[in-house]
């Protein structure tokens, strides 16, 4: 039996049928009919943000911490354009989002009407797919298709643009099981011949490494379990990209730390010197590879990825396996077990001795101070105080983000939300709101820099409105720290526009929002101040005044190879040669 309803009712019904419980959004003229329907029901909760970019990042935080798609509802024109950064962020980090935008009525499209923008045109390159629905009869089907596309294959943001007259018009509603979802069905199973070749290479490997990425998290918790089983039963060392932290526990015996530009010494040397690399759900990003022609020159590379365009994009791999990470890991493990669980264990033991020598460099060591709080120290204390709690961390972008990745330990997937691919300053605060909405009882901390945090600080008002006890842990160095670091290394210490002048008083700012503010500048007070933050039942802005000129090490300068890493004590002038200077 088909039910007839208005387009606006269909939107709400389709969201309900897709299991959506939360929508992040901001109303406006072109979405008023949908907001009217939201008002008249109780199944779907609407979270009113303060800026549409915040809605998109909050939905990302929700999606990354739950594995479910995040839903955004914004109006036409500026509502849609404000959400573009969040869509691009989700596209780069493969986060499933469904963005619903209002549009001017169909008869005004192309007329430069009030709050009109070519939303599908603007968002075409920053969504996985998008639709403009002009026919009310297709609306429900398109929304179901949107959820299908967002969550299948490599996840990503999708957008459905709905003109206002379509929201008012009446048509028949198609439930999800009746809707045609089109031909989009990416393959999940790996090619058996490639899996056999990969297992054979794994069995022979003398200097292996497992290199995992965000794809493992996206594939679901079962993929993380299989990754752990593979690492632990082979005894292979495992490293991960920024996006993949938590898939394998930081306390696990195979863990050698994050790799890449600010990864650990042992992880990058292991990648460089290995003879077998199993890349699982990562994409050989430039932050990982460093100089391409010097990337792990002697290894057989296996690449498991659900997106065929990731294969051989940057690095030529020997054994590509297109498929879902979880499915392929299960297939590989089954085959490896059936063949007798062979590894070159003696050689691998010797390899571990080498890795332990690298680990012995203690690359994350830093010179502490009893006068000023070192950012690394602040994170170590935060880690010590929160390690045993059900803890979710979001970050902004910059030095603090890398330090958080280095000094906090992630034991479970979906506990670490950071803008990796796009590097969006202003991501962390709204993301922490999305996470807290999804996990009301959990401890949610946004590790921030003061400059990033200011970019979306209006969302503090959202946190207060919904009584979300998000902790904003701001490492305040009064500098755009990463920019300053690059200017020091690369631009002759000319610190062009990289300091934060006229910063607000964060404690007063917190109070103005109706939150709690804590200022800490003495290392001796830090533990107590962190305890106060954690004990407070409500949102907190923690202004942690840290050393202003600390650099983030280790660092592989752009254009350099993995074995050309800079460590903390290194001389840092002229670290990047002219060839690397053009890289970002």
């Amino acid at each position: 039996m088909t039910r007839r309803m208005t387009g606006a009712q269909m939107v709400v019904q389709a969201l309900r049928d897709q299991g959506v419980d939360t929508v992040f959004g901001y109303p406006g003229g072109a979405v008023l009919p949908i907001y009217d329907e939201i008002f008249q029901q109780n199944d779907i909760r609407h979270i009113l943000v303060r800026h549409e970019q915040g809605a998109a990042h909050a939905a990302e935080g929700y999606a990354r911490s739950t594995g479910k798609p995040g839903v955004v509802l914004v109006t036409s024109g500026p509502g849609a354009t404000n959400a573009v950064t969040g869509m691009t962020d989700a596209l780069m980090d493969s986060i499933p989002l469904v963005i619903l935008t209002g549009q001017v009525p169909t008869f005004l499209i192309g007329n430069d009407a009030f709050q009109e923008a070519d939303t599908v045109g603007i968002t075409r390159p920053c969504t996985k797919h998008n639709w403009l629905v002009k026919d009310p009869a297709q609306l429900s089907e398109v929304i179901h298709q949107a959820f299908h596309v967002a969550t299948n294959g490599r996840p990503g943001p999708v957008l459905v643009d709905i003109p206002k007259d379509v929201q008012f018009a009446t048509a028949a509603y198609s439930p999800p099981d009746k809707a045609r979802i089109g031909h989009y069905q990416p393959r999940r199973k790996g090619d058996p011949a490639a899996i056999l070749a990969a297992v054979e290479a794994l069995e022979r490997a003398e200097r292996p490494v497992l290199y995992s990425g965000g794809g493992v998290i996206n594939s679901g918790t079962e993929a993380s379990r299989l990754l752990r089983e593979l690492a632990d039963s082979t005894g292979f060392p495992i490293t991960s990209t920024l996006m993949g932290l938590g898939a394998y526990p930081a306390s696990g015996k195979g863990w050698i730390g994050m790799l890449g530009m600010h990864g650990t010494y042992q992880a990058n040397w292991t990648m460089h010197d290995c003879d077998f690399m199993l890349c699982i759900g990562a994409r050989f990003d430039d932050r990982i590879t460093g100089r391409l022609d010097a990337f792990s020159p002697g290894s057989i590379k296996v690449h498991v990825d659900i997106d065929p365009s990731s294969i051989n994009k940057n690095i030529h791999v020997d054994i590509p396996i297109v498929g879902d990470v979880g499915t392929v890991l299960a297939e590989m493990l089954d085959l490896w077990k059936a063949r007798g669980r062979v590894t070159a264990s003696e050689a691998v033991a010797k390899w571990w001795q080498q890795i332990e020598r690298w680990r012995g460099r203690n690359c994350l060591a830093y010179r502490n101070s009893d006068k000023v709080i070192k950012p690394q120290f602040a994170l170590e204390r935060l880690e010590a105080a929160t390690r045993d709690r059900d803890r979710y961390i979001t970050t902004e972008v910059g030095q603090h983000q890398m330090w958080a990745a280095q000094y906090l330990g992630f034991e479970e997937p979906n506990r670490w939300m950071t803008s990796g691919g796009l590097g969006t300053m202003g991501y962390g605060l709204p993301a922490s709101i999305g996470v807290q909405i999804a996990h009301p009882e959990a401890l949610v901390i946004n590790v921030a820099g003061e400059a990033s945090w200011l970019m979306n600080m209006q969302e503090m008002s959202t946190a207060v409105q919904y009584r979300l006890p998000v902790k904003q842990f701001i490492l305040n160095n009064e500098r755009l720290g990463m920019v300053r670091q690059w200017q020091q290394l690369l631009h002759g210490e000319r610190y062009s526009s990289s300091w934060s002048e006229a910063l607000p008083d964060f404690v007063k700012l917190a109070e103005a929002f109706g939150a709690k503010g804590i200022l800490c500048s003495d290392p001796a007070d830090l533990d107590e101040a962190i305890a106060e933050m954690l004990a407070y039942d409500g949102p907190v802005i923690f202004d942690c005044m840290v050393e202003k000129h600390e650099n983030c090490f280790p660092m592989i300068p752009s254009g350099k190879a993995h074995n050309e890493m800079l460590l903390g004590e290194d001389a840092t002038t002229d670290a990047i040669e002219s060839g690397g200077a053009v890289l970002v």
Binding site: D307, S309, E564, L567, E569, E577
Partner: protein, 186 residues
């Protein structure tokens, strides 16, 4: 103190001279892309090429299955083998794309292009233009006392050749369709 004590030579030019295994010569490939003929599908394909910096030498589009609303886009592109592989993979993951065929590697294919060539002139030049058109099996589709419009069908090279010959004979204007291509055999 240099904590790493890097070996000289490992830093600037290369400890490793790893050749790209796919080679770095430029190749021209003809791709047939079968898509749902929905709004914006061509913009998606073209946006992919411009956004990722790929070349388009020629592009033709038309709906080939009116009932199924399928279009066939024929693209001639150039790039290194690795770039060509990327182009195919990137096209393949667009949601409305059903299939991507590389006609250059999938076996022999027929390529044809149609051009309308306007030539103006009188006297000996006009006669010569007519004679050359005949050699190329071009048809006259319009004529006045001082001009012809020739219609020629053939490979892009054949069309280029005719246009080149017409230039000194009073070439005024050319309209080309771009390449349509299909695999030989069944």
């Amino acid at each position: 103190m240099n904590a790493l004590s890097l070996k000289k030579g490992a830093s600037s030019h290369s400890a490793y001279d790893l050749k790209n295994p796919l080679g770095d010569r430029q190749e021209t490939h003809t791709l047939a892309v079968l898509v749902d003929n929905e709004a914006g599908v061509l913009a998606r394909v073209i946006g992919l090429f411009s956004g990722r910096g790929y070349n388009i030498e020629s592009l033709t589009v038309a709906e080939t299955d009116h009932e199924g609303h399928r279009s066939r886009i024929t693209i001639v592109t150039t790039g290194t083998p690795a770039v060509i592989e990327q182009i195919k993979a990137q096209l393949g993951r667009l949601v409305p794309v059903h299939d991507v065929h590389d006609l250059t590697v999938e076996g022999p294919a027929v390529q044809r292009e149609l051009a309308l060539v306007k030539v103006a002139g009188t006297g000996e030049k006009r006669v010569e233009a007519m004679r050359l058109a005949d050699v190329f099996r071009a048809r006259v589709v319009d004529t006045t006392l001082e001009s012809f419009v020739f219609e020629i069908t053939g490979t892009p090279e054949k069309v280029d050749a005719l246009i080149g010959l017409m230039r000194p004979l009073g070439l005024v204007d050319v309209a080309r369709t771009g390449v349509a291509a299909i695999a030989r055999g069944a």
